[in-house]
Symmetry: D2
Subunit: 284 residues, 4 copies
């Protein structure tokens, strides 16, 4: 796969933005592989993503980056220039349920997810053997024995020491303390097992069963201090009927969870997501 | 199309129910075209639907019906025996938006929905011409001029005088008074423009836009006194993205509304729905 | 709705294309509402669509157009600049089945499809009354009486005299002569009632039933001389089961046909489709 | 999970079939957990599946089975009575691609698929380590070294010696010899990476790319001597666009393959599928 640079920008909207950026790119001979824009009319904000062929650019990454910064300031751009060769480091947080963990590890192992799995952290020991097989460090944090405060302190320390870029809650059933949500803001993704905002909170499949809905779903979102209220990246649904009991719904819902989470993580890793207030722009 | 009888049953569960009913049917030479059962384990209730070839039965509808009643009592059955030739009479209640109304009238006109359209009642005059074209009585009720109480009294009187079997709120944007909800219970269907329970109440597309969901939907449900809380018959969803503004969502959502409502009405007309507490069994 | 210009371009790929175009746009103060690009790596071809706010441009449409032409030549661009105020003229060709016709007329009537319906042409008379209601000229061409050659000559003459921009075969069940396909190339859309390339040709639902597929579908495509082989714009599918007979499949398939055709026509009318060889780029 | 008996029947249609069977069941006190019927009108054949609570039956499996046989003969029934406790033995045949294999092993390991994995047989060695982890026997058959005839002889011998009930081709890219297809008929399932009948044969994603379809899919079917022509159990599709190259389609298609195969295998294991001519009745 060819190396690309990904240029992610958002800034106040004005005429000439695309021209300024694309002129800059052309000036440095950058061949555009993919380009996407979006203007949020209501908030007058502009969003842009370019994927450019690294080999075509006549500057190295750092010089290119410095050069761009001058223009960025002029337009009050928030921006990021990443190299597709770079592998973000992921921490996977799990509980007993294995489907999301197994799926993400497989997609990583086969190269579909371009990242390093820094570690797996779980509040149950069952997944150790599985992580071992993939030769990924596994940490069992015993919430019951050490208590919530101490447990999260240890998790935070692990995330720090492993230089984690992205934390993924792969059906990790513990509510994170606010300070950790804030510290990791924009770099922590959760999968919730309902189509939010329906059935936030505990036991969403039971809630769905009780309400008698005809579709169940899953929601991949960034974690914020407001439980299940963060910016949504991806959602997936599946048809059910009266003949599905809560156990059937759990089973069927897993396929939604797995695909919504895999998509969400992939979009994030490929720098396809820009968070804007409590929503996301996803250049899928 | 051959004439069929539809036998709809629900009762406390016990061994031998299917045997008793199918033996009764076989005894009267009834050829089964379609049969569906469901047991709700949690509430120990049994649900059954048979569609049988009317010609094959060696009794007329009424005698057959009387004969069945004896068995029904023995098993504490709630039941209904309907003739597929019978056309239920529908009142369509609408407002300004025409998509659901146009769709239902077309499906009725082409024979897809087996019913009579008794009348169209609207709180805006725009649809008159359309109803005229289909030669369906049209009543314009002016809510602003006559006030809500008087308006609903007139609607109730129209539903009564037209001997309406099923009232369909085809994007009728007025909240019905409780007594009317109760009077028509089980015989009044609404389409809500969100995947309930998300975004109940007013302006669901704006709510969906504000929350930043990646799927929008529509919900067809029986109307109860609790707004948007009645038993759900059918739901439909559609993928959206950050580039869809509320107007796009309204446009895209219409296709969900149209299909969810059409399916829901069809299931009801074909006696495929049994309401149980606040949920439905739909033998689709 | 604000007036926009839509600039559609395709040309051999090279570095600087986006810069050249966006610089041109910025130079004339054009505010970009929406922009999409695509590079076909295999054929080294570049595709681009801009939607720009007409009011923001400091030139009138014609002068702007002339100015652009100079650059276009330099890059060997095929291009088109259209005005969103312009209403393309559509001829709807139909047969007995009304669902696609009714749907398109309704979407046109409610403003969802921005176009003029120049005429409805049908080889059966049934739809006349419906066209009349919408005050659209209706022509019944009797294929049996006048023969195929004469019938198509009349159709061609009607398309010409009505200055038709886009011909839509809304379940028109006659095979067009090659010369007409070629004459209307890129300006004639068909809906085929299967997910092509499966079940091309006659009676696709029966073919689908015989094969025992678990999904049926519909395909909206540009018409070419090779029957059902033209560039695909949109496809839609629906789940079926063993309990669906061919008549059920016809009924269920209609919803696929209606939505696939409506989407396809909409994309075309909004200049979102570029035909490239036997495929389409659709900036949806 | 409670133990159930599954009674699968198909026979020529006639009045009284349901009565006879359900009377038989009631007579032996069998509590019906789930029941499904289907009549194929065209071929006048009747299909039925009952799932009954084993504990409720007043006979053991064998006596019950003998008793039923008398009635079965009378109605020319093909039938099968299976015990939900029984675990069918599966052989998984794979090649280099791991996604289907990994998914099925995970679903088996977590108890979602109720079966024993008798062995994994592959024509590439890569998956050995993975099978080892699950403690499943792994056999590498080197087609290049030993030749096709010898390789398939060894596979056949492995299937025999492992007493395999169901052979699953989990992206096994070799064409089976006719005699093996016939020997395993009804007990061998394949996943084909297109929505059949589109794109049968080799490189379906490339074919799909070349044709420019807007949906890709996967088909789970029973294997017959006619390549990709066997009875279809399940199909799954996913939307794509012009921006997806064949590699994207391969990646996106994998999710379709995984879910279609998992569903198909599950239906088979739960005795939900009856093959009738070249189609299936699936009581999903």
């Amino acid at each position: 796969m060819q190396t690309t640079y990904r240029l992610l920008i958002d800034c106040p909207d004005q005429v000439g933005l695309v021209a300024a950026v694309s002129q800059f790119l052309a000036q440095h001979n950058a061949a555009i592989v993919e380009a996407s824009h979006h203007t949020d009319i209501a908030t007058q904000r502009f969003f842009m993503r370019h994927e450019i062929c690294a080999d075509s650019v006549n500057l190295d990454h750092q010089t290119f980056s410095h050069a761009f910064d001058d223009m960025a300031k002029q337009y009050q751009m928030r921006w990021k220039l990443s190299d597709s060769q770079h592998k973000p480091r992921i921490a996977l947080l799990a509980s007993k349920e294995s489907h999301c963990l197994v799926d993400l590890l497989h997609r990583w192992h086969t190269g579909e997810l371009h990242c390093d799995i820094a570690c797996v952290i779980a509040n149950h020991p069952q997944m150790r053997q599985f992580a071992d097989w993939y030769e990924v460090p596994f940490y069992h944090i015993d919430f019951q024995q050490q208590g919530k405060v101490s447990a999260f302190a240890e998790i935070e320390q692990l995330i720090d020491s492993h230089k984690v870029d992205l934390t993924v809650l792969a059906r990790f059933m513990q509510i994170l303390p606010n300070h950790l949500c804030e510290k990791l803001a924009g770099h922590i993704i959760n999968i919730h097992h309902s189509f939010l905002p329906s059935f936030a909170g505990a036991r969403p499949y039971q809630q769905a069963y009780d309400r008698g809905v005809k579709l169940i779903g899953a929601t991949c979102h960034y974690v914020t201090a407001d439980l299940d209220e963060g910016p949504i990246i991806e959602q997936s649904v599946k048809r059910i009927s009266h003949s599905d009991n809560p156990a059937d719904m759990v089973r069927k819902g897993k396929d939604c969870e797995v695909t919504a989470l895999a998509h969400g993580v992939r979009y994030h890793l490929q720098d396809r997501v820009i968070i804007h207030r409590n929503k996301t722009v996803v250049f899928a």
